[in-house]
Amino acid sequence: MLLALLAGLDLTMSFITLFVPLQLIVSSFVGYRAFGRRGIGDAILVVLTIFFSTFVLILLLSVLYSVITEGAKAISFQFIGQNNVYVSPTTSLDYGGVGHAILGTLIVVLLTTLAAVPLGVAMAIYLTQSQSKTRNLVRTFTQALSGLPSVVSGLFILSIIEATQMGRSGITGSLALFPLMLPTVARVAEEALRLVPVDLRYAALALGAPNYRAFFQVILPAAKSGLLTALLLGLARVVGETAPLILTMNPSSGTNLNPFDGGMTTLPTYIYNYLASSYQTSQARAWGAALVLLMVVGILFALARILGKSKSKKSKATK
């Protein structure tokens, strides 16, 4: 391999063309010595598995690594707090920030959540509690909706905007995010409700409770953490959406707290706007915003995991 490096191939190519085949041959040899002919196949499988897995892990971790190292250069309290009203592409990183984008994300996602979560949970209730014959159809349609490309959802709301002359604002952005969040929340909430043992419901009904009381007073508290997971996963899905918001919202550099009027910027659209600029500072801002976005998604995910784990621990304790 050193010879190949000296011969001018760069590290990656020499790795692939020499190291891996060499590894394959050596391990096949060892496998043959240890296990006979079938040892060769085993050895090749193991080497290839480790190679592919490491390769993909390196790629994925490189994404995290780049975001963290490049974003750390731009991040500071001022970056998280300020907005970009007086910032031009050449302003140094000491001024301006993503404060307005964070607020925009919060507002738009909050509006979407207010609509999507009750509806999604109601759908999950219907799917698990009722005995209707159209349940499978509803499930199929929810799955169909979950495959909606985000850009098509934006197009849909855009067509409504143009038909009704509504004008773009934060609320149109959350309307565009709504069909994306709804199926996720519905699916995870349904799984959460299904995890509740059915005996609890039967016991409540046997004690004379009507269905709705059985649900609200027995099943809902038991499925609380699962439903919270549904909320968090829906949030994580929608927080990073770019394309629908580009189509349905105007960006702004200032803080705009009114979702019904005027433009609003969210973290993903902020990144999108600064991404392809040729100015170093703008690119650094994009990395910083990406880091903030990643932290938000990471926190949501960690919360969902913790809730999921504590629930399984509780159920294990009662067994």
Partner: protein, 326 residues
């Protein structure tokens, strides 16, 4: 029991009508649930309504032709290269991602010790939630030079294969479907890995232990026990990834040089197409008529993902009978 005792009378079990509260409960949730129908119907309906004039005037050439000229009279809007480009990039992404995802899942379930396996699982699930714009950022600024280097090497040494030929090597390889395919692959690997890992972990351990006890090796167990049993589920996961790959917009937006010259097979040629990115690129300065054409493009994309997801779900549900809905 003496025969002089009378038999207890049969009790009449009556299920009365639902109480008022229950009626309200079931009716509200039913209305909410059927809202999903309404939403899908609305999306399709509105898009169809806006796109119909375009589809009517362009006919079948909308998906087959390769001219997009909103300024000509009559307007010619044809999506062919973009559609092919989307499929090409998606297929490329899947070809790259599937071996990696299956190896990752195999590693996690069958080779790693428990603690590392759960760490890896958490990591993969977290990476599945990476926003695509972050991947686009990384793809443009970090990955493109590296992948362009690979493309150059492929062209230099394997250039006799039509796949890797370019019209002009001096142009550089910076914006080819090759790079876009790699970025899409990185994006869908976590999804496929999650689904595959779940299927592998729910395989019956007795089957595998039985195969090993009968003298099987790792490879033979994998080939003859694990893969056949898990194959439908894995195919379902791959199709889910395909659905996501086809709808990918921002991640490959900056990485691809969108051009209407259809690029059939030259992976490293620096131009290509993708429907979603095309919509994003053109809607900014589109005239109202062109916007209708873009809506038609969105409709085509939606129908494509509907078909792919439907097939995926049919396959996955058939493969996992324990997931059958009650």
């Amino acid at each position: 029991m003496s025969q002089s005792q009378t038999k207890p009378q049969r009790r009449k079990l009556s299920a009365g009508p639902l109480s008022r509260g229950d009626k309200w409960f079931f009716r509200t949730t039913s209305a909410a649930a059927h809202f999903a129908f309404v939403l899908v119907a609305l999306v399709l309906g509105f898009l169809l309504f806006q796109a119909w004039p375009v589809l009517q005037s362009q006919g079948v050439n909308f998906v087959l032709g390769s001219t997009w000229d909103p300024d000509s009279d009559p307007m010619v809007l044809q999506l062919g290269p973009m559609l092919w480009g989307s499929l090409l990039i998606a297929v490329l992404g899947i070809l790259i991602a599937t071996p990696m995802a299956i190896s990752m899942a195999y590693l996690i379930v069958f080779m790693l010790p428990k603690r590392w396996a759960s760490v890896a699982t958490t990591l993969i699930d977290l990476l599945a939630a990476l926003p695509s714009v972050v991947l686009g950022l990384w793809g443009l600024l970090v990955f493109t030079p590296i992948a362009a280097g690979w493309a150059e090497i492929l062209n230099k040494y394997l250039g006799f294969i039509p796949l890797f030929q370019v019209t002009d090597p001096e142009n550089g390889f910076m914006r080819s479907p090759f790079i876009a395919g790699w970025i899409v692959a990185v994006m869908i690997v976590p999804i496929i890995t999650s689904v595959t890992r779940e299927i592998f972990s729910q395989l019956d351990r007795d089957l595998i232990n039985g195969a090993l006890a009968l003298g099987g090796s790792r490879l033979s167990t994998f080939r003859r026990v694990i893969m056949p049993t898990a194959s439908s589920g894995v195919v379902g996961g791959v199709l889910l990834g395909l659905g996501r790959a086809v709808g990918e917009t921002v991640a490959i937006f900056y990485v691809l040089n969108l051009s209407m010259e259809i690029n059939w097979m030259n992976l490293v040629e620096p131009h290509g197409g993708a429907v979603a990115s095309w919509i994003l690129a053109r809607f900014g300065e589109a005239s109202p008529l062109e916007k209708q054409g873009l809506m038609a493009a969105g409709l085509v994309l939606f129908i494509l993902t509907l078909i792919v997801n439907y097939i995926a779900n049919v396959i996955v549900n058939r493969a996992q009978p324990w997931r059958k809905n009650q």
